[in-house]
């Protein structure tokens, strides 16, 4: 059933990580990403690996879900690794034609690759343990300060959550229109790229018309239910920091401090 598709990649189990406030998880992800760029010593990478492994274990999400995101960046990963290997000046260890692989390049590429992989795993970990609704709520609340410079944070968050609600409905509608147009002789599957793009027109026009009609209906229904922007609004489930969030913040800052400290530890690999 198309209607059952889930948006994002939320993995529904109950764990300490799942129960954390979405703001904590957002902050944690950002801190983890920063820490990867702060450190450059092997000690730092060992620490990051341990922390990442620990959090994955706590989240109770199977490891194979983490690596799914890696497929998307595989090409970027390969490119950056090979550039680093062959273009870093230093002691040559291998020569293929005009390409020279250097020892320094190899070390740099290793760290670079590790950094990219950890970036992806770290952010997947957040989306796997947080529902899109929580994520929007968390973003709305943590970015609230932007209100002061005129960014309509509440409105953007509301738009995001409505979009999430309507994606499955519009997907189903696309399917319906596609079948209806096929029944009238439309051909979506053959021809070259341009012909196929042209074939999308009888699909997109009705889809847009219907989307606008839905939007206008929804706006009316929201107004009828007294919606008048974020002002004076209360929340049924307001986000509130618990003890576990405070502990998480503490651990995050300890971790970041250690990562910064690792920059100054002299460690000679070879």
């Amino acid at each position: 059933m198309i209607r059952d598709i889930t948006i994002g990649q939320y993995y529904p189990v109950d764990s300490v990580i799942h129960r954390l406030d979405p703001r904590t998880k957002l902050a944690g992800t950002v801190i983890f990403l920063i820490s990867l760029f702060v450190t450059s010593s092997p000690v730092g990478y060992v620490l990051a690996t341990l922390v990442l492994a620990g959090v994955i274990k706590l989240s109770r999400v199977p490891f194979k879900f983490m690596t799914r995101g890696l497929r998307a960046i595989l090409i970027v990963l390969l490119l950056s690794v090979s550039f680093n290997i062959f273009l870093t000046p230093g002691t040559t260890i291998l020569k293929i034609g005009f390409l020279r692989a250097t020892k320094e390049g190899l070390i740099l590429a290793g760290f670079m690759g590790l950094r990219l992989v950890y970036l992806v795993i770290g952010s997947s970990l957040m989306t796997l343990t947080t529902t899109p609704t929580q994520l929007t709520d968390g973003l709305e609340k943590s970015l609230r300060f932007l209100n002061r410079v005129g960014v309509p944070v509440h409105d953007i968050a509301m738009m995001m959550s409505i979009a999430l609600r309507f994606i499955p409905i519009l997907v189903e509608e696309t399917d319906k229109i596609m079948k209806a147009q096929t029944a009238r002789g439309a051909d979506f599957d053959s021809g070259n790229l341009i012909q196929r793009a042209k074939a999308m027109i009888p699909l997109l026009v009705p889809l847009f018309v219907s989307a606008f009609r839905r939007a206008s209906d929804l706006a009316m229904a929201m107004e009828a239910r007294c919606y008048h922007g974020g002002e004076g609004r209360t929340k049924m489930h307001p986000l509130r920091y618990e003890t576990r969030d405070r502990i998480a913040y503490l651990l995050m800052f300890v971790y970041l401090a250690l990562m910064i400290a690792s920059r100054f530890i002299r460690f000679r690999l070879f």
Partner: protein
């Protein structure tokens, strides 16, 4: 006490060209006066374009009358300072359930109205519990609306309005997109609200069967309350209105199947009384005639 009183209401839809200049107008309502008593169940019937949806939106201050006034619980809909109060007093349920549910979780959607009017957190939870229970949807509290049937979604939409504790609910063809089971569930939930909670219901519908159980039926035609051939207004109890089978046919409206059967039997010579609404009534009448 009248919860809604509309006096000499006129409403025009203005048609504008690209430069926002009014090039034409279509009159949707011309001089409609209607009083609706607190706690009553009123059914608005009418052909497409009769102005019934336009009238519904006037009650909720979605549309403002061009001439005349609409008072909701004594508040003038033109007075903008009462806008939220009016919408809290008179909630509105629309035709397409998908287009009026805004959240991905049933309970959050029901809580949307109370959130908007700034109800404190604990009370929202309490209101959501109550509202879901009143429409019989408590079991689906944490489900996604995408997993529900049309009738269930429409009941969630009703719960969303009930959670604002309105005195009146206006429904614009709430069952038009539902299957027969869904229709029955929605209607019984609405009747329950009307009887147990004393909520005034204004139901706009195409299905004559739904009007049978109303306290009052009003027929609209071309933006006015329709007139019967004897000159009286088509505004009365279901029995009174559905007795006027010929007038309804002239207005291109049907009558409930049983009423129609009774009418045809009478035309064929049986001495039945007018305005039979239910199967039981028809059976009783036939038994009475047979006994004579």
């Amino acid at each position: 006490m009248n919860i809604i009183s509309a006096a000499h209401v006129v409403y025009d839809y203005l048609i504008r060209d690209e430069n926002d200049k009014v090039v034409d107008k279509r009159t949707a309502l011309r001089d409609v006066s209607l009083e609706i008593a607190q706690g009553s169940f009123v059914c608005l019937l009418g052909h497409n374009g009769s102005g019934k949806s336009t009238f519904a939106k006037l009650i909720n201050a979605m549309n403002l009358p061009g001439e005349g006034t609409v008072l909701v619980s004594g508040m003038d809909t033109k007075d903008e300072s009462h806008l939220l109060d009016i919408r809290m007093t008179a909630g509105m349920v629309f035709q397409n359930p998908d287009n009026q549910i805004i959240s991905n979780v049933v309970e959050e959607d029901v809580g949307f109205g109370p959130e908007n009017i700034g109800v404190p957190e604990d009370e929202i939870l309490q209101r959501v519990d109550e509202a879901l229970q009143k429409v019989g949807m408590t079991a689906y509290r944490l489900k996604s609306p995408n997993q529900l049937s049309g009738g269930q979604k429409q009941r969630v939409a009703i719960a969303g309005i009930v959670a604002m504790r309105p005195k009146c609910i206006v429904m614009d063809e709430p069952t038009a997109m539902l299957d027969p089971t869904g229709r029955k569930d929605v209607l019984s939930a609405v009747h329950e609200l009307n009887k147990k909670e004393g909520v005034t219901v204004v139901l706009i519908t195409h299905y004559m069967e739904e009007a049978v159980d109303a306290d009052r039926v009003v027929v609209l035609e071309k933006g006015e309350i329709a007139k019967a051939s004897d000159g009286s207004l088509m505004d009365g109890t279901p029995r009174e209105i559905f007795s006027k089978v010929e007038d309804l046919r002239r207005l291109r409206l049907s009558v409930p199947v049983i009423t129609e059967l009774g009418y045809e039997l009478k035309q064929a010579g049986l001495p039945l009384r007018d305005g039979i609404l239910t199967r039981d009534e028809l059976v009783k009448e036939l038994v009475r005639i047979k006994a004579q």
